[in-house]
Amino acid sequence: MNDWKVLLVDDERDFALTLAERLGMRGIKVNTAFSGQEALDLLETYQPDVMVLDLMMPGMSGSTVLRKVRGLYPNIEVILLTGLSSTAEGASGVSQGAFDFLTKPLQIENLIEKIGLAVRKRSADEAGQEK
């Protein structure tokens, strides 16, 4: 778990910072961004294994960020966060290339499990590319 690098993107600062601290306490290296643009700027110098991305953000929406990330950094797996009860938007994100989605308020154990699965998929994909 110590090698996992995560970028957490959410405009709710208190949520992002507290969740980042909790993930950090569990040995996961976490960086935070509070807008879609900030996340894209950060990706120019920092490449995480997994991006945890809120869908409903002011300015650049999570869907737009997802599209750009899939185009520019196809190796980064994206887990979407949605505050909406309907799973339709999360499912639509998955059809656009997100690894999976979670609904807020989330259980940290579920998030860690999904991050782990996403890291494993990334490793498998990379191993496949090398062959």
Partner: protein
């Protein structure tokens, strides 16, 4: 209709905000619990009490999240005139959103899941309004500690509805007889009729049957 859509839009946006509020509460409480977990019992004598408090916060987050989830779905109901939907889920939604009504009358609302989906094609807002209406009508008159059990029923093609069974200290048939003879029953029957639905007692006279027109 524009007015109800407007109320729905505001409600939907606010349920989204509330989910963020609940997420921050859960993470903050979770962080406090993480830190508490690192504390030695002797260094912090109130550790047990704090952990119990965190448990209560978590339970309230779960409760709030369930209400917000149902309220969010409910807020989108006025946007569609007709919609095919499972009455089991609709009954469940209204029961969750009527918890205040059940608590203030000291009665329980229970949904008995039907074995299979019962698809309704009625106006979704009217369907919900009539389900709430029957709960609102019965809750104050059936007596404290009673139960109202709702079950979706596919009566015949194009005619779906639900049954309402009351579990009260007095016998069901006696209670129903009293309710049906009451002065407000006719008004309720007319209200259902005006919305293209019907309400009446079952053949065995031990429960009420509501039918929605399609």
């Amino acid at each position: 209709m524009k007015e109800t859509i407007f109320i729905g839009k505001i409600t939907a946006a606010m349920t989204h905000e509330m989910k963020n509020v609940l997420a921050i509460i859960r993470e903050s409480s979770g962080l406090a619990e993480d830190l508490l977990g690192m504390c030695d019992e002797s260094a912090f004598p109130y550790k047990d009490k704090f952990q119990k408090i965190m448990g209560k916060i978590e339970n309230q987050v779960i409760r709030g999240a369930e209400i917000m989830a149902q309220l969010n779905e409910f807020s989108h109901v006025p946007e569609v005139e007709r919609q095919s939907e499972d009455l089991n889920l609709v009954l469940n939604q209204i029961v969750i959103l009527s918890k205040k009504l059940s608590r203030s009358n000291a009665v329980d609302f229970i949904v008995e899941q039907a074995d299979m989906p019962v698809t309704s094609n009625s106006n979704p807002l009217t369907t919900r309004m009539l389900i709430f209406r029957i709960l609102e009508f019965l809750a104050p008159v059936i007596g404290k500690g009673s139960e109202i059990r709702l079950k979706a029923v596919g009566c015949k093609i194009g005619n779906q509805g639900f049954s309402v069974t009351i579990n009260a200290p007095v016998s069901n048939s006696f209670l129903l007889e009293k309710i049906l003879a009451g002065p407000e029953w006719d008004a309720l029957e007319n209200e259902f009729k005006n919305h293209g639905a019907s309400i009446g007692s079952s053949a065995g006279k031990d429960s009420l049957i509501v039918n929605f027109s399609q």
